[in-house]
């Protein structure tokens, strides 16, 4: 019987500082490359991996790298707890453990060919980043594509180097709550950017990952645009332990975020009591 709890070793091959408390870690498998799924992807954007460091436990991270990349995955780690603090002390060449990928991910077949509005805030960018990479790789197969990304200050915007590159292929709208003197972009809630979006509401989808208050902002921005609840996809966060639907930590009503999610449409979320 296969031991689904057994993690595999990965080596840190690159570390980037992205804000005062956030780092990107590039992880390479010790043996071989990351396995491809039926779609030829090393994971579906929106799926998560459990990254563990012995002595400090495991936690879920949505990879930020391109799902077509099989030689490494990137995870973005904000220093908030025990494990993330330990990870921040590691150096290139150190090894950690990984399991997964787990969960459903964004419904890439469903969104194929449609207009897309991606909305994210703060450190919710990683799964959206991998979705952007997926879309750019298949750019001519998608309609108008927007990325709306908000953060507290310009310094808190992550993956800036990659965002600059994306601007060639998709429309990127950035906003911050507290601008500095050099900031030329928008200020305030992501919902203020609604006027900049031109989509066909009947053939558009939205993908989102962000903190709770972003959900309300999402409602304000996407419902007026006319995107139906079934076409709004949210990447949810919950406490994870097993990743395989046993331990009960991640349940939301009748769903397991680790198995049925982490991506749910807004209609499912609305109907759930939890």
């Amino acid at each position: 019987m296969k031991n689904l709890y057994k993690p595999f070793k990965v080596k840190i091959i690159r570390i980037e500082d992205h804000s005062s408390d956030t780092k990107l870690f590039r992880l390479k498998k010790d043996k071989g490359s990351f396995l491809k799924n039926k779609q030829g992807l090393s994971f579906v954007p929106g799926q998560f991996v459990l990254i563990g460091f012995f002595g400090y436990g495991e936690a879920p991270f949505g990879p930020a790298s391109s799902p077509y990349q099989t030689s490494y995955i990137d995870i973005v780690v904000r220093k908030v707890g025990t494990l993330t603090t330990a990870l921040h002390q590691l150096k290139v060449g150190d090894r950690v453990f990984a399991r997964g990928p787990y969960g459903n991910g964004f419904p890439v077949n469903f969104i194929f060919g449609k207009d897309i509005v991606m909305v994210t805030g703060g450190c919710g960018i990683p799964p959206i980043a991998s979705l952007v990479e997926y879309i750019i790789k298949n750019r001519n197969k998608f309609g108008r594509t927007y990325l709306i990304y908000g953060a507290k200050t310009p310094a808190d915007l992550l993956l800036k180097d990659r965002i600059e590159k994306w601007k060639k292929d998709i429309k990127v709208l950035l906003t911050v709550d507290q601008p500095d003197h050099r900031w030329l972009g928008s200020v305030g809630m992501v919902s203020n950017l609604i006027d900049h979006i031109e989509i066909d509401p009947l053939d558009a989808v939205s993908a989102m990952c962000g903190p709770g208050p972003m959900m309300d902002a999402l409602e304000k921005i996407l419902r007026p645009l006319g995107i139906s609840d079934r076409r709004i996809f949210v990447n949810m966060e919950r406490k994870m332990q097993c990743g395989i639907g046993k331990c009960q930590h991640c349940t939301v009503g009748d769903k397991y975020v680790c198995q049925d999610g982490p991506v749910f449409n807004f209609d499912q979320i609305d109907k759930s009591w939890d």
């Binding site: 709890y5 012995f54 331990c247 009960q248 349940t251």
Partner: protein, 306 residues
């Protein structure tokens, strides 16, 4: 011909089994049989920092559990299903696959609820031995178990308790518990419940767990342990950074019921309860699942009519 054991020879048979097996008599155990396959705390991985080697402690012991009641057998059959689907739990099966379960009941029954072998009382002096599996057949080879032509068979019917009766319609319970989310009973229970988690520890079927690492004093080894958790405990849904998805005891207590009667029904077509009554017996606040369900079902039916 029925296989029969004399009541007074049961202890002798157990003594014989003890010579070849690790036998545990669980008749008086407060903690349910799940503890032998899903221990309250178990080391699942050891990571040696120096050699960078990751190992999993092997479980060699073949356990023979004696004295499971019909409800415990039923629960074990259900727990096996939970630990098998949708994906098998390695650490549970590592122990469970080698184990043998012997049931013992003073009540007559129609369908065996599980286990490898069951002793069923047929008269004041004798038990009929029902062999259910290959493993059961192996241990039935003993001089204390004899084939008897036409033994005296008396029926010892069990009375169907109200909770057990309710469990016969798991769909109604699922609907009623899902419907009851805004029922005042959850506010009342939130006042009563101490959030201690005992109900889940003594439950034959509750199987929440957490995984936690610890490091040896000399920092040479890390061990990853899995231990029983309880969804009613305050930190159950708390994530790093401090956000708690189930902040109130009311949310957590309702979620416990919701899992047992709604989520479980959706996943496996039955409630995760065998009406053993242990949660009430050991609850310091004496909360009774049966009374709660009765009230919810009554009000749900009333609401459905109107």
């Amino acid at each position: 011909m029925p296989l029969v054991i004399e009541k007074k020879q049961i202890e002798d048979w157990l003594a014989e089994l003890k010579q070849t097996h690790t036998l545990i008599d669980i008749r008086d155990s407060i903690l349910p049989p799940k503890q032998y396959f899903f221990p309250p705390q178990e080391e699942i991985f050891v990571f040696d920092k120096k050699s960078q080697k990751l190992t999993s402690p092997a479980q060699q012991e073949e356990l023979l559990l004696f004295g499971l009641s019909l409800k415990k057998l039923e629960a074990m059959t259900q727990l096996d299903e939970i630990m098998e689907k949708p994906q098998p739990d390695f650490f549970y099966w590592q122990r469970r696959i080698k184990s043998i379960l012997i049931g013992l009941t003073d009540k007559s029954f129609e369908v065996a609820p599980g286990g490898d072998l069951i002793l069923e009382k047929i008269n004041e002096d004798q038990y009929q031995v029902l062999v259910l599996t290959k493993k059961g057949r192996k241990i039935a080879k003993s001089k204390f178990l004899k084939q008897v032509r036409n033994p005296k068979v008396k029926k010892y019917p069990s009375v169907l308790k109200p909770l057990k009766k309710m469990l016969l319609d798991p769909e109604l319970l699922a609907e009623a518990v899902a419907w009851s989310r805004n029922h005042k009973i959850w506010d009342e229970l939130a006042e009563k419940c101490l959030g201690c988690g005992i109900c889940t520890y003594v439950c034959y079927l509750c199987h929440c767990f957490s995984i936690e690492d610890s490091v040896s004093l000399d920092n040479s080894k890390c061990s990853r342990c899995r231990y029983w958790d309880a969804c009613t405990l305050p930190g159950f849904s708390k994530v790093a950074g401090g956000h708690n998805f189930h902040k109130s005891i009311k949310q957590r207590y309702y979620n416990w019921f919701y899992h047992k009667f709604v989520r479980a029904y959706q996943e496996y077509g039955k409630a995760q309860c065998v009406a053993c009554g242990k949660c009430k017996k050991y609850c310091p606040a004496r909360i009774s699942i049966e009374e709660v369900l009765k009230e919810i079902v009554k009000d749900y039916k009333k609401d459905r009519k109107s």
